[in-house]
């Protein structure tokens, strides 16, 4: 008597080998062996993804250890980034130059110092300014696509906006460097700077030089890059607002704008997720920013001062890092960048997918 062994498992129907007589032929055994092979290979590929993430984190942490040991947590708040040694005259307690027996000044060598504050500042402020510009336009455009535009207009407009996402960042970089930056330098920054300098309370916003390649330009380019992402996700989120909600609000006598505001309020967690996705892209953006941000490791309150973000620092200095400590410091910056972007992505995903119902991709 033969019976089909059916262990309780969640595997598919045909992957268990039945123990009946027809399984004895070699052809059947081969068929079920290929089953097993495909399953192993597919599981292996899926596990490969876990390995990729693990390798990323592990390699960065391992290679940044020399920098951890040298600087500790103070790395995140020090603002001096100096890959070279400094030779200067040795001074005694009163500030007088120490001289040796021949009357010559004694020099001392200060080792390189690395501090990530300028790049953390640059990333944070450029992302913040870019979002300030981008979010109102994105939400307005999303409302347009969902509430105003007829189907025939909404489709091509959506396509064009998604095409904006596909433009490689280096294209934005070149456009920003050769079109936007000179325009800002000649027409926008001098008058704005004059206003800042003259108004007593805003004096600290002014800058000595306005080259056009500064935090302001970087933020504008980032805003242009981030708008399509926020628009696309917001449009999807707003489309998911139930018809009953919209009709109910209108039935209670709300105007067009009041109803729209109600829609925005209803889907605020999804919209916040969309904004975080834009933030994640803005913070991680490398090439466009590296070309227009001015590439100076400094912390200045003025948006017209050159700055540096974490990714532009890596793009500029990594290939030419002058010492092991320099490379370890850069890797620590990369680790901070990775952790920050992972955090943003996780929170954004949880907000967009989880806020409301069970995660859409979880069910078959």
């Amino acid at each position: 008597m033969s019976s089909t062994a059916a262990p309780a498992s969640s595997k598919g129907v045909a992957s268990e080998s039945p123990h009946h007589s027809s399984f004895r032929t070699a052809r059947h055994r081969r068929a079920y062996r290929s089953d097993k092979i495909l399953e192993v290979v597919a599981t292996g590929s899926a596990t490969a993804l876990l390995l990729l993430l693990g390798a990323l984190v592990a390699v960065l942490v391992y290679a940044a250890v020399p920098s951890f040991r040298t600087f500790g947590l103070a790395f995140l708040v020090h603002s001096e980034w100096r890959p070279n040694e400094l030779e200067r005259f040795k001074r005694d307690a009163q500030g007088q130059i120490v001289k040796d027996q021949d009357g010559e000044p004694v020099t001392e060598t200060i080792p390189p110092a690395f501090g990530a504050l300028p790049v953390i500042y640059g990333t944070a402020v450029s992302s913040a300014i870019s979002l300030t510009f981008a979010v109102p336009f994105s939400l307005g455009c999303a409302l347009f696509l969902v509430r105003i535009a007829p189907r025939s207009t909404a489709k091509p407009v959506s396509f064009l906006i998604e095409f904006l996402v596909a433009i490689p960042s280096i294209a934005y970089g070149i456009w920003g460097l050769y079109i936007l930056a000179p325009f800002l330098q000649q027409h926008v920054e001098p008058p704005l700077n004059a206003v800042f300098v003259s108004v007593p309370g805003l004096h600290w916003l002014g800058s000595d030089a306005t080259t056009g390649r500064d935090l302001f330009c970087g933020s504008l380019v980032l805003a242009i890059m981030v708008i399509p992402i926020i628009t696309a996700v917001s449009r999807d989120v707003l489309r998911a607002v139930p018809r009953a909600q919209i009709e109910g609000t209108t039935a209670l006598g709300a105007t067009w704008w009041q109803t729209s505001r109600e829609m925005l309020r209803y889907s605020r967690s999804g919209l916040f997720g969309a904004i975080m996705l834009g933030l994640a892209r803005a913070a991680g953006e490398t090439m466009a920013v590296a070309m227009v941000i001015g590439n100076v490791n400094q912390v200045r309150p003025s948006p017209f001062a050159a700055a540096q973000t974490m990714s532009s620092l890596l793009a500029n200095e990594f290939a030419e890092a002058s010492s092991d400590l320099h490379r370890a410091a850069l890797l620590e910056v990369a680790l901070v960048l990775l952790v920050m972007s992972l955090l943003f992505n996780v929170v954004a995903r949880w907000l967009v997918v989880g806020g409301g119902q069970a995660s859409g991709a979880g069910g078959h």
């Binding site: 089953d35 390699v59 307005g140 509430r147 294209a171 078959h364």
Partner: protein
């Protein structure tokens, strides 16, 4: 207020038009046959500035190598997420990881490639660049494959198994062929994304001004060469950078158009 929303959309489209207008009009001036047929020549040499043939070929080879690794792993990973899902914790974790990896800044991927593939070999090489691009491709292809496979009705699989096919045969002969259009869409989206990437190649493949087919050494790519030319001091090379950008945008635009054509809504008769 609704006029404000229309204004927002108009401004965004206007900015897009502005960006594209400059890219197209300036790039158009330098695109000629020499651009495609010649390799770069240094300043002062005969035939300066030459063309960008090495970079076009380089990007094609790098993207090809990246796909050779990224597409199979991605599709198989998507098959696991959609068809097997034997352990719930593994499936959820892998799905989450794929989404998270898709958002990693590409320059960090380049740094990983440097530490793992350039340092042991002692010099920059094209394989490191190709594998860094594959790293970016895999999560994208995995997720789109899973989504596309979800669209195939369960009745296809049930019918196949009812006819006696094993699970592997069902997947390979029934489900995957039915989803071919969607799979190609996912792969092409990933290709378009990867072809435009610069940051992962900065310290893996490094770039080269020579036409080379050997990925064991520094390897040219279109994006890196555009970046070098654009930030360099030579005016003719800057013109070529604009031309290169135009070609890159045309490439990506055609990819996206083809993807739209492939994703015509299909009716599956269940």
């Amino acid at each position: 207020m609704w006029m404000g929303c229309i204004a927002c959309a108009a401004i965004i489209l206007g900015v897009l038009a502005l960006v594209l207008w400059y890219l197209i009009s300036i790039g158009r001036q330098s695109v000629n046959l020499a651009f495609f047929a010649q390799d770069p020549q240094p300043y002062g040499a005969d035939g300066y500035p030459g063309g960008m043939r090495n970079a076009l070929v380089g990007t094609a080879i790098l993207v090809g190598l990246a796909s050779a690794v990224g597409v199979p792993v991605g599709i198989l990973g998507g098959v696991y997420l959609s068809e097997y899902r034997t352990r719930a914790w593994l499936t959820e974790t892998v799905r989450f990881t794929a989404d998270v990896l898709a958002g990693v800044p590409s320059i960090v991927v380049g740094i990983l490639g440097y530490e793992l593939l350039v340092v042991p070999l002692g010099h920059f090489n094209g394989w490191a660049g190709a594998l860094a691009l594959a790293f970016i491709m895999i999560p994208i292809v995995t997720r789109t494959t899973e989504e596309m496979l979800h669209l195939i009705p369960g009745s296809y699989r049930e019918a196949s198994i009812a006819l006696g096919a094993t699970k592997a045969r069902t997947i390979v002969r029934v489900v995957l062929p039915a989803a071919t259009g969607g799979l190609i869409t996912g792969v092409m989206l990933a290709l378009a994304r990867v072809a435009g990437e610069t940051a992962p190649l900065l310290f893996t493949a490094l770039g080269s001004r020579l036409l080379t087919f050997d990925p064991r050494y520094p390897f040219p790519s279109l994006t890196k060469q555009i970046y070098d030319y654009a930030t360099g001091p030579y005016a003719e090379q800057k013109q070529q950078a604009w031309a290169g950008i135009l070609i890159l945008i045309v490439l990506i635009f055609s990819f996206n158009l083809l993807v739209r054509l492939f994703t015509r809504p299909r009716q599956f008769r269940a």
